[in-house]
């Protein structure tokens, strides 16, 4: 089953990481990614721009475009993984590995994926890594 692992953290805190801490954390996370990729379990992974870059469209009789994220929260959705896991237990193991690689504040929300669109972006439209 596919699970989405949604990464929540205070973007202020993540934005305050020193260069060294950022580099070290990324290196530890890459080890986790590589392991999953080698097992053929890693789907799309995305890191999102800060919520200041977000815009929200509120549906209604008249649609409303609002600057900013959908909800004001202490921790923001900063990115997500799609991972193939045999069980919730296995998905939690992945989240625990991620938490070990990136300790401190924040949380991972684990949500089973109900449906996923099969289409893929053409290579030149994919955002730069």
């Amino acid at each position: 089953m596919l699970y989405a692992i949604l990464c929540y953290n205070s973007e202020d805190a993540v934005g305050s990481w020193s260069k060294e801490y950022h580099a070290q954390t990324m290196e530890r996370l890459l080890t986790v990614h590589d392991k999953l990729a080698k097992q053929g379990r890693l789907g799309p992974v995305a890191r999102l721009l800060p919520t200041t870059a977000a815009t929200t469209l509120r549906k209604g009789r008249e649609e409303m475009v609002i600057d900013g994220p959908f909800a004001e929260t202490k921790e923001q959705l900063l990115g997500f993984y799609i991972v193939d896991c045999a069980s919730l237990e296995a998905a939690l193991d992945v989240a625990k590995d991620l938490a070990k690689a990136n300790p401190g504040t924040g949380s991972y929300e684990i949500r089973p994926v109900a449906q996923m669109h099969e289409s893929h972006l053409p290579a030149e439209k994919k955002p730069a890594a």
Binding site: S10, D12, A13, V14, G15, S16, W17, S18, E20, Y21, Q24, T25, L49, P50, T51, T52, A53, T55, V65, D67, G68, K74, P103, G104, T105, P127, A128
Partner: protein, 412 residues
């Protein structure tokens, strides 16, 4: 750095809000700073074992406030009873903390904290130094390094600036909308100055000064989070990210300046460009253009050109024309002339900048542009003279070296 790097980051991120709230309670910068220090010490003791609190800022405010109040009480026993008017909000219990931290309160706290650093009697470099110390929490040594002065000199400057701010009357009541807008504009200007202090440097200095640009970007993001619907703050954030995206391409391996058109565009930071473009897109939807948005739109056109020759100079010329209307200045006209030279040729551009001579006589860049235009028109002697003046006025050896390259080309 240890695994506890996250604590530093959480504390640094909470600092503006915590300092802003502590300043509101104690109405004194030194007391607020001491309270913050104490709260941080306690965080370092308890967080590694207990994990981070759910709301780090609220935790630090509460602990800092209690610590400072204990301290004040101890001192009071030795001297006299505290003046209650000096210590506002002493009676409220923890229960009301959540309310206090909600809503607009902390937005005004942070804005006030930044605004008092912008005291009009302080020279801009002191405003910046004060903001870096108080709001960003950089050490005096770090700030001294960025401004290329001794630690003792910087310590003295900051102490003086603090005293000046301390003597001024600070407005602690909640500001009205016009006053808030005015504060925001003043603070935004200071943040952009901070960025420019870190940006306009030669390579040797660039490394020392890099923290200025980084802190300025953190501050402008903070402003944008506090005022998420202000198109000018989106514009300023975009402008700074787009300019910063080129940081790695601005100097060659010998430390010489590389002009925009000669830069290796593969060195530009794609992440920063993506954020800049997203923000300028958002800002434009508001149809309330302003100087930061227009400058960001110009930077965006450069960022979108895959090669220098793909640059949409016509659009850049139009944007500068708008900027001239909104914010008339000879420097804007000079920048526009560069676009005009690409669209209509060097003669038209030269005619545009000649009337500026009297006002920009002492400006390095004016003579540099003039020299380049004269060079294109093959008026070598006049070009040489203009470049000579530019070298005499250059702010950094790198700028002078860059002009010398032009001179070399003229004489070869």
């Amino acid at each position: 750095m240890s695994d506890l790097g996250w604590i530093d980051a959480v504390v640094a991120a909470a600092r503006p809000q915590v300092m802003g709230a502590l300043l509101r309670y104690f109405r004194d910068l030194d007391t607020a700073e001491e309270a913050f220090q104490e709260a941080c010490l306690r965080a370092l003791k308890t967080w590694p074992q207990n994990g981070p609190p759910r709301d780090a800022a609220a935790w630090l405010i509460l602990v800092g406030r209690n610590a400072a109040m204990d301290d004040v009480r101890k001192r009071a026993k030795q001297t006299q009873l505290p003046d209650e008017a000096e210590l506002s909000d002493l009676d409220d219990a923890e229960a009301s903390m959540a309310d206090r931290l909600d809503g607009d309160h902390y937005r005004d706290d942070i804005l006030r904290l930044l605004f008092i650093c912008c005291h009009p009697e302080l020279p801009s470099t002191q405003q910046i130094a004060l903001a870096l110390r108080i709001v960003c929490g950089l050490s005096v040594a770090q700030i001294a390094r960025a401004f290329l002065v001794s630690e003792a000199a910087m310590e003295q400057r900051i102490t003086r600036a603090k005293a000046r701010v301390g003597n001024a009357k600070m407005a602690f009541e909640t500001p009205g909308a016009p006053e808030r807008a005015e504060r925001l504009a003043t603070v935004a200007a200071m943040v952009y100055l901070t960025f420019n202090e870190g940006y306009s440097a030669n390579q040797a200095e660039a490394e020392a000064r890099a923290p200025l640009a980084e802190e300025a970007i953190r501050l402008v993001r903070l402003l944008l989070r506090l005022f998420p619907t202000e198109p000018e703050i989106m514009g300023l954030t975009a402008l700074m990210q787009l300019q910063q995206s080129r940081a790695r391409a601005r100097f060659d391996k010998d430390g010489n300046i590389v002009l925009l058109e000669d830069q290796d565009r593969s060195l530009w930071s794609k992440g920063r460009i993506a954020e800049g473009l997203a923000l300028i897109d958002k800002a434009m939807r508001h149809r309330r253009p302003g100087p930061y948005q227009i400058q960001a739109a110009i930077a965006a056109l450069h960022a979108q050109a895959r090669q220098a020759k793909d640059t949409d100079w016509k659009q850049i010329d139009l944007l500068y024309a708008n900027l001239e209307r909104l914010q008339p200045s000879p420097v804007v006209t000079l920048n526009r002339a560069v676009a005009v030279s690409k669209v209509s040729g060097p003669q038209a551009a030269l005619e545009m900048i000649e009337p500026l001579g009297s006002r920009l006589q002492g400006y390095f860049y004016f003579h540099g542009v003039k020299g380049a235009l004269l060079q294109q028109l093959e008026r070598a002697d006049e070009a040489r003279e203009a470049f000579g003046r530019a070298i005499a006025l250059a702010n950094t050896p790198a700028e002078a070296a860059h002009i010398r390259q032009h001179l070399d080309r003229l004489s070869s």
